[in-house]
């Protein structure tokens, strides 16, 4: 096993020891008394208003769904961008550009549909 691997293991062991140690020390030294103040969820020193388990509008889901689709589909542009220069150098730049344009055109169609159906309007 290489020296690097050993040092990483040592780091892991230290991290685990510190984490365990802090939990143990606070359990040993702490009084165990519970008060309202202590049981409140920590929100940067402010008193929380209301329960976090509130139902929120379905619009958030809609936006999340649209975001995840358009966000992830763009992943295909990364490999395309990486090889584009090579295609250009080989004189096939127009072809590579057309292919990406067709792909983006299909995405655009999806965007127009979502827009036209009012999926992007927050106010109704």
């Amino acid at each position: 096993m290489s020296i690097n691997a050993i040092s990483i293991l040592v780091l892991f062991a230290l991290a685990a020891a510190v984490a365990l140690g802090i939990v143990l020390i606070s359990a040993l030294l702490g009084s165990g008394r519970k008060s309202t103040e202590k049981l409140l969820p920590y929100e940067c020193g402010l008193d929380p208003i209301g329960s976090p388990r509130r139902r929120f509008s379905v619009k958030f889901f809609l936006v999340a769904i649209l975001f995840i689709v358009f966000d992830v589909e763009v992943v295909f542009l990364y490999p395309w961008a990486v090889v584009f220069r090579e295609f250009k150098a080989a004189g096939e730049g127009a072809l590579a550009f057309t292919v990406a344009a067709v792909f983006l055109g299909i995405l655009l169609l999806g965007l127009v549909y979502a827009w036209g159906r009012g999926a992007l309007d927050w106010e109704e």
Partner: protein
């Protein structure tokens, strides 16, 4: 091998893909209509869809007739097989559209997206049946399924439709995970996902050190496909989904989706099963027997005709699987028998479900078998066509269903799987019970008004011309190819 990007002959690819582009353009128009047009004419989208399907059909028909050899682009293969199955898929898509028009109108739920999704799903099937690479198989299955998940839940106010969509979605995604795991291991052991390369190398891989990975990979692929074609023990979703989905979507799932999945399975089988045949023969025969038995036995106890047809479709998947072990020794014969069967199956299933659509044109979709009581008197022609379809599904001689089964079983006998055929014939005899029961109910049972038998709401209307068209085409097809099976056999022989 896979051609490099710049080596692809783009003009011939465009030429081959032209029917697909037509279908995609129609889908785009459907979605744009939904998004941009305020008060659309409710017939515009379906008619536009039908026109697009007809244009794509004509283009592909010309390709099927042309004597040019098939073209392979590595990922996509355009040969006679893929063009023929694509024609069958377009045919069943057109039937689903025709059935959808009155079905959706009766529910006041006419939306252009419905037809857009149907077309996108058809496009996925195109990729699936032309797939020359496991990656394309995956992408085709996903494109096809994602659209059908939404279609199954399209009547979103109906809880049963929602439930069908959720079940179909969860099972479908689960199955794709298995399929992908299989692709990963096949890729790992063979170093390629191209089906042509796999066919060349599989014997060599099976002899080498990659053997165990390869076996594991193909087994996972089998599980994935088992879910998609609803083979036992991966069938449990099918009856629920077929029952809950809107009936025209059920028609689409039972015909086009099934045909596309089976043909992709056939292509895969031809490439990989020949090496290490014994293992796959055992697995496929056991699967065929279990699927036939369970489908037929469960269909007997169904009271709802939609569920009965769902189980019957499982049983038919079992019959088709009977021909699969023969792939190892006689790939051509097996392929032709499967194509013949799929063609016949699409005709008779679409016809039988069209009658279910008529029954369910009312508000709450009454599809109990007892509702058929007295149909022979009230609607003699409708009852006669349903009788024809049921007899064909059962496999009574002068119908196409008989010859489909005959060629399937003949292939299996030729390859020496006589025991399998004996079990299949016994199963056909079992199926007589549930196929004949609706006929008996239609003609000999007097409807009792107390339990709401007879006179489904939809029957009070005159038959929509669209449904008449579907019934006429499918009934003529079943009868014509039943009397002249050699014509269909010639078409099929030219395709595989």
């Amino acid at each position: 091998m896979m051609p490099q990007f710049t080596q692809i002959d783009w003009s011939s690819l465009f030429n081959m893909g032209l029917p697909w582009i037509v279908i995609f353009a129609a889908a785009a128009i459907a979605f744009l209509t939904a998004a941009l047009v305020e008060e659309e004419n409710s017939l515009f989208t379906p008619v536009m869809t039908l026109v697009a399907i007809a244009v794509a059909f004509a283009l592909s028909w010309g390709r099927w007739l042309s004597p040019l050899p098939g073209l392979s682009f590595g990922m996509l293969v355009f040969d006679k097989l893929s063009v023929f199955v694509w024609l069958m898929i377009l045919f069943s898509a057109a039937i689903s559209v025709l059935l959808s028009i009155p079905y959706l109108a009766a529910r006041g739920f006419v939306k252009p997206e419905y037809y857009g999704l149907l077309l996108l799903s058809t496009l996925g099937m195109a990729c699936l049946v032309s797939a020359g690479d496991l990656l394309m198989v995956y992408l085709g299955i996903e494109t096809m399924s994602l659209a059908v998940y939404v279609l199954a839940g399209f009547l979103r106010y109906r809880a049963a439709s929602n439930e069908a969509a959720l079940k179909y979605f969860l099972i479908g995604a689960f199955a794709s995970a298995f399929l992908l795991m299989g692709i990963a291991f096949v890729f790992g052991s063979a170093g390629s996902t191209n089906l042509a390369v796999l066919a060349e190398r599989s014997t060599e891989i099976m002899a080498g050190e990659g053997r165990s990975f390869y076996l594991f990979g193909v087994a996972m692929l089998l599980i994935g496909f088992g879910f998609k074609i609803a083979a036992v023990p991966f069938h449990a979703w099918a009856p629920d989904v077929y029952d809950g989905a809107p009936t025209p979507v059920t028609v689409f799932m039972a015909t086009a989706v099934k045909a596309a999945a089976f043909v992709a399975f056939l292509r895969l089988g031809v490439s990989v099963f020949s090496a290490g045949g014994e293992v796959w023969i055992t697995v496929l025969s056991v699967g065929a027997v279990a699927t036939m038995l369970l489908g037929n036995l469960a269909a007997i106890v169904q009271e709802n005709i939609k569920r009965m047809l769902a189980y019957s479709s499982i049983a038919h998947a079992g019959y088709i699987l009977v021909a699969f072990p023969s792939i190892v020794s006689d790939p051509q014969g097996a392929g032709r028998a499967v194509l013949f069967y799929l063609f016949a199956y699409i005709l008779m299933t679409a016809g039988a479900f069209a009658v279910v659509v008529v029954m369910g044109l009312g508000k709450d979709e009454p599809t109990g078998i007892s509702r058929l009581a007295g149909l022979g008197k009230r609607r003699p022609v409708l009852a006669a066509t349903l009788t024809l379809f049921l007899l064909s599904l059962l496999g009574i001689p002068p119908t196409v269903g008989f010859f489909a089964k005959y060629y399937l079983f003949l292939t299996a006998v030729k390859s020496g799987y006589i025991w399998l055929v004996v079990i299949a014939v016994i199963n056909s005899a079992i199926s007589a019970y549930y196929y004949l029961r609706p006929i008996v109910v239609m003609y000999f049972k007097i409807p009792s008004p107390l339990v709401g038998e007879g006179q489904g709401e939809g029957e009070t209307h005159a038959l929509s011309p669209f449904i008449v068209a579907v019934l006429a085409i499918t009934a003529l097809g079943v009868a014509y190819f039943g009397i002249f099976p050699s014509n269909l056999l010639a078409i099929v022989t030219g395709s595989f």
